[in-house]
Symmetry: C2
């Protein structure tokens, strides 16, 4: 399950709770599109903003509505104690894998992060994907730490935050990482703008935000690479450049993708937990025009 | 209550829960030393790592054991929904004030942070202290935003993350901030290494980590400034320079202060929530020697 397109759906919510029906529909769309895996409760699924009970419920719904598509569930939390509890809940819900980012409030040391992964992988009975997302966790993995964590039991993939923009440099980067980790551990690219370059450079997986909302568009890029057509993948990704630019302007993809889902009528407004807000006003109108132009609407 | 020494105790805990007896003792020591206020569940009190129920309990214990010293309680959380619930709990527990940092997972915009404070202050019936701590929240307040938030009802103090090291530059900095905020809102310095300089530069309060463990030492610096003896305050702070250096070497004060409390026998080991760890090995021994040399032991 750690290759191809892994699609990360939003968890639509408001101040009263989770919109379970809308979440179920988002997951069903992904299953219908035959993505390779579904990443529930990733950063796009706002895992960090939910209670343990809410997260258990979302995990259950994801598994229920994903059909035969394997589901990976985010178990990140500030405390090791809570990560272990969330791992148990995810496994009980039927998750095929878990995704763990080293969330922080106090800045974490390399040893603290290694010990976290060592403790959690010891208790797991499903595979784990290491989630490296310095923009939200404020922890920078060293390549040496990738190598050490990749040796732990149950570790099967590393979700890296992007690759260099230049294709040759990206290839060298991915090859260097590959040399540090065992063959049974895959590398997956995230940061949608980098995905085509990352896949073309040898990443086995795309952990994808737009894949959670526009699975066909993300699958076209993924399948092009898998068929060896790197040029077509690059072309399809470059076509989406205005969307990548919007992500950059609004502190990442979440506020943009949430607004897109609202504009499509797939989720109600608001869909993000306050204080977070989806795009409003002129930016929202700009997004609506863009979705039309890119034929994503 | 927003002037003088505000002392921030640790919340001693392990993987099973909070050491309530040890926490009560830490708070009683602060009350016995006659600090001007107690900041329970600050960053030093590991607020971000506790459940709502645990935080309510810590707030109750703090108020109970603080005697006549007013208690401020940290109510920060990633979601506005949770901040409002924590504010209610703190008020029910008898807190004299609340402390709110804009915690983040997704990077927050200025508008999102302003709206958070506007929403929370509208519901409060006790004063609020704005907690600016970019090292943990990853949000940078602009001076303009200080000014806007300081106008909101119930805002009575701003806890700033430090001041420039040069006394004249620090004075200019504090005067510029003062001009932006109403007279009923005080400025409090944090980052213990900056405290003497900040107080000498006109900050009314020291929101103090070492004050939570060594209240007499922190009071001596505070009272020197209040008596107009800026040189004595500077001398007393410079004496602690090796301690400030240790804070810098270990990603902040928490791991050092937790180890110091353990070494003093005031709390058991471990006292921090995993994955966080107090100083170990050679650093811990170095700290023990230092506490002796500085006559803090």
């Amino acid at each position: 399950m750690f290759s191809g397109l892994s699609a990360f759906p939003l968890t639509p919510m408001n101040e009263s709770g989770i919109d379970e029906a809308a979440f179920a529909r988002l997951v069903e769309r992904l299953a219908d599109a035959s993505v390779d895996s579904i990443g529930a409760l990733g950063s796009t699924g706002s895992y960090a903003y939910l209670t343990r009970a809410e997260r258990a419920r979302v995990a259950q719904l994801a598994v229920k509505h994903a059909g035969s598509v394997p589901v990976m569930v985010g178990i990140g939390a500030l405390r090791t104690r809570d990560v272990l509890a969330l791992a148990e809940d995810a496994q009980k819900a039927g998750a095929s894998a878990v995704l763990l980012a080293p969330m922080s409030y106090q800045k974490l040391s390399t040893d603290e992060v290694f010990d976290l992964y060592e403790t959690v992988t010891r208790y797991l009975s499903v595979p784990l994907c290491v989630y490296d997302n310095p923009g939200t966790t404020h922890f920078e993995f060293s390549e040496e730490l990738y190598g050490r964590i990749a040796q732990l039991p149950n570790v099967r993939s590393i979700k890296i935050p992007g690759v260099p923009a230049d294709p040759e440099t990206a290839k060298a980067h991915v090859e260097r990482l590959r040399a540090l980790i065992p063959p049974h551990v895959t590398l997956g690219v995230s940061g949608d703008a980098f995905a085509a370059t990352g896949l073309n450079a040898g990443c086995e997986t795309w952990y994808s935000v737009i894949g959670g909302l526009f699975p066909k568009t993300a699958l076209a890029i993924t399948r092009a690479v898998q068929a060896g057509d790197t040029q077509e993948a690059t072309r399809l990704s470059q076509r989406l450049q205005p969307l990548w630019a919007l992500f950059g302007q609004h502190g990442g993809s979440l506020r943009v993708v949430a607004a897109a889902a609202e504009l499509q009528g797939l989720v109600e407004h608001p869909s993000l937990p306050l204080p977070l807000k989806a795009l409003e006003g002129a930016s929202r109108k700009q997004l609506a025009v863009l979705l039309d132009e890119l034929e994503l609407a």
